[in-house]
């Protein structure tokens, strides 16, 4: 089961995540001035909210991560050698 967590102390209440979500999973709590999860069942795990959040407050678990085919193998080898 997909899970979304919003780190309360990190959320600045900018509403970017609420605006970007295509399925209205997130809502804005005007009293607390923070984003809240209102409908986790409709989340498609596009991760746009997590990517757009300036403070990285949103995390998803139990989701399918796309296969990272665009990673350049030669570059990765060089970085590994460097590290």
């Amino acid at each position: 089961m997909l899970e979304i967590k919003i780190h309360d102390e990190s959320c600045r209440g900018c509403e970017l995540c609420v605006d970007v979500c295509p399925t209205d999973v997130l809502a804005f709590d005007k009293v607390a001035h923070k984003a809240t999860i209102q409908n986790v069942g409709d989340c498609i795990a596009c991760l746009s909210c997590a990517f757009i959040c300036p403070s990285g407050a949103i995390t998803h678990s139990n989701i399918h991560h796309v296969k990272n085919f665009y990673r350049d193998l030669d570059f990765c080898r060089r970085v590994e050698r460097f590290l």
Binding site: I44, A45, C46, S48, H64, V66, N68, F69, Y70, L73
Partner: protein
């Protein structure tokens, strides 16, 4: 280099080529680039689906499209999405059209665009739109549209409409 690394390198080279082609034609041709890519995708979809089983049921047709993609080694994994705001998975219009939401996860096009930092919803996305339109026209014999509702980093949400 083992087989997996060789396949991966071949795929990466193809992706580089695709992204470079898209990035090259869009500034020169403008909006016409999307029409060209749509047309190419539609022809490809119709060709791939020419031996598929004919059906008038949307869910069966989508399963056929999925088979066509798998048989041709296309990495375009998609699934039907039923949001809580919609009464049913397939919405029927008064004109006899049918609408369904689709979520695309692993996508060669998205990966290619990210490789070079290109914007989504460009000509390559239109090629996919064309592919679905062509495949569904061949399977259902009806005109189809695939509108992009949201292009995300990990998944895209699209609305498939099949006309009566």
């Amino acid at each position: 280099m083992n087989d997996l690394e060789q396949s991966r390198q071949t795929l990466q080279e193809t992706m580089n080529f695709m992204a470079a082609l898209a990035a090259g034609i869009e500034p020169v041709i403008g909006r016409g680039a999307c029409s060209m890519a749509y047309s190419a995708g539609r022809t490809l979809g119709a060709q791939f689906a020419r031996h598929s089983q004919r059906t008038n049921d949307l869910e069966t047709a989508l399963a056929e499209v999925r088979n066509v993609l798998t048989e041709n080694d296309c990495l375009w994994q998609f699934e039907a999405f039923h949001p809580s705001t919609r009464p049913s998975l397939i919405t029927k219009g008064e004109d006899g059209s049918e609408e369904i939401l689709l979520v695309f996860r692993d996508c060669m096009i998205r990966q290619s665009l990210f490789r070079y930092g290109h914007a989504q919803k460009g000509s390559l996305c239109y090629m996919m739109y064309g592919f679905f339109a062509g495949a569904l026209e061949a399977i259902m014999g009806r005109r189809a549209e695939l509108a992009i509702i949201h292009a995300g980093e990990n998944a895209c949400l699209k609305c498939l409409k099949v006309h009566a």
